[in-house]
């Protein structure tokens, strides 16, 4: 059995193509039975939001995502992993984050994908500021205690 490839981690301003990333992860592979992909999108709460401005800590963002990816590989038997997190201005309806987990079995792929998203939410150094349709600068999005609770359950 081939060694699973190293996690592919990207922090970038550009959009990504989830279908292309899935194809890259599975191309030529015979050992992947389950592929779970998560895409987080900029959602509009009430029609007032124009976009989010995502600030990040360059260097630490990549390092922290890589650490979380390594933890996922330690906890579950995985065959491949891609994580992309955008920064900068992201309009309503646009993609923010992508996690793709490849595994032999679906239970491992689902668990790892959910673990990764919970950890990214609470540990990856990104901060969202709202920009409103009326041109006003909105608030910084506040961290949710439910995200902390979601992370806690993996301990």
């Amino acid at each position: 059995m081939a060694q699973p490839p190293a996690p592919s981690v990207h922090v970038q301003a550009e959009d990504f193509d989830p279908g292309r990333e899935q194809a890259l992860l599975t191309r030529g592979r015979r050992d992947i039975g389950a592929l779970v992909s998560f895409v987080g999108l900029c959602r509009d709460e009430d029609g007032a939001l124009e976009s989010l401005e995502l600030e990040h800590y360059p260097g630490m963002a990549e390092a922290e995502i890589a650490r979380v990816a390594d933890q996922a590989f330690e906890r579950w038997p995985l065959q491949g992993l891609t994580i992309i997190h955008r920064f900068g201005r992201i309009r309503v309806g646009e993609r923010i984050v992508l996690v793709i987990v490849a595994a032999r079995r679906r239970a491992d792929a689902f668990a790892a994908a959910e673990f990764l998203m919970d950890y990214l939410k609470t540990r990856a150094p990104f901060w969202k500021k709202e920009r409103r349709v009326d041109g006003a600068a909105g608030d910084w999005v506040e961290a949710k205690s439910e995200d902390d609770a979601a992370t806690e359950r993996w301990r």
Binding site: G40, Y57, V97, F126, W140, E142, A143
Partner: protein, 83 residues
């Protein structure tokens, strides 16, 4: 050492980064926060509620009691909201 500030910590202090030289009796992250808070109104506002401040030493998360040690870079920011 270099101090970095992000999100509303950056906005309140009015700086994204600066060189700082804390005195020798500033040993932990918490002590550095207290020392910075005394530098001016912006700092005091940024660090008014320590429960909402997160820190990283050389790009690794660090708790308030972590020793600063020989870190070359310390960052302060609010709880993360990525993902």
């Amino acid at each position: 050492m270099k101090a970095l500030y992000f999100a509303w910590v950056r906005e309140r202090i009015g700086l994204a980064e600066e060189e700082i030289a804390p005195p020798g009796d500033v040993v932990t992250v918490r002590q550095l926060i207290d020392w910075l808070s005394a530098r001016g109104e912006g700092y005091a506002a940024a660090f008014a509620n320590p429960a909402t401040i997160r820190a990283a030493l050389d790009k690794t998360h660090a708790g308030p009691n972590a020793p600063i040690g020989a870190a070359r870079e310390i960052a302060f920011f609010p709880p993360m909201t990525g993902g």
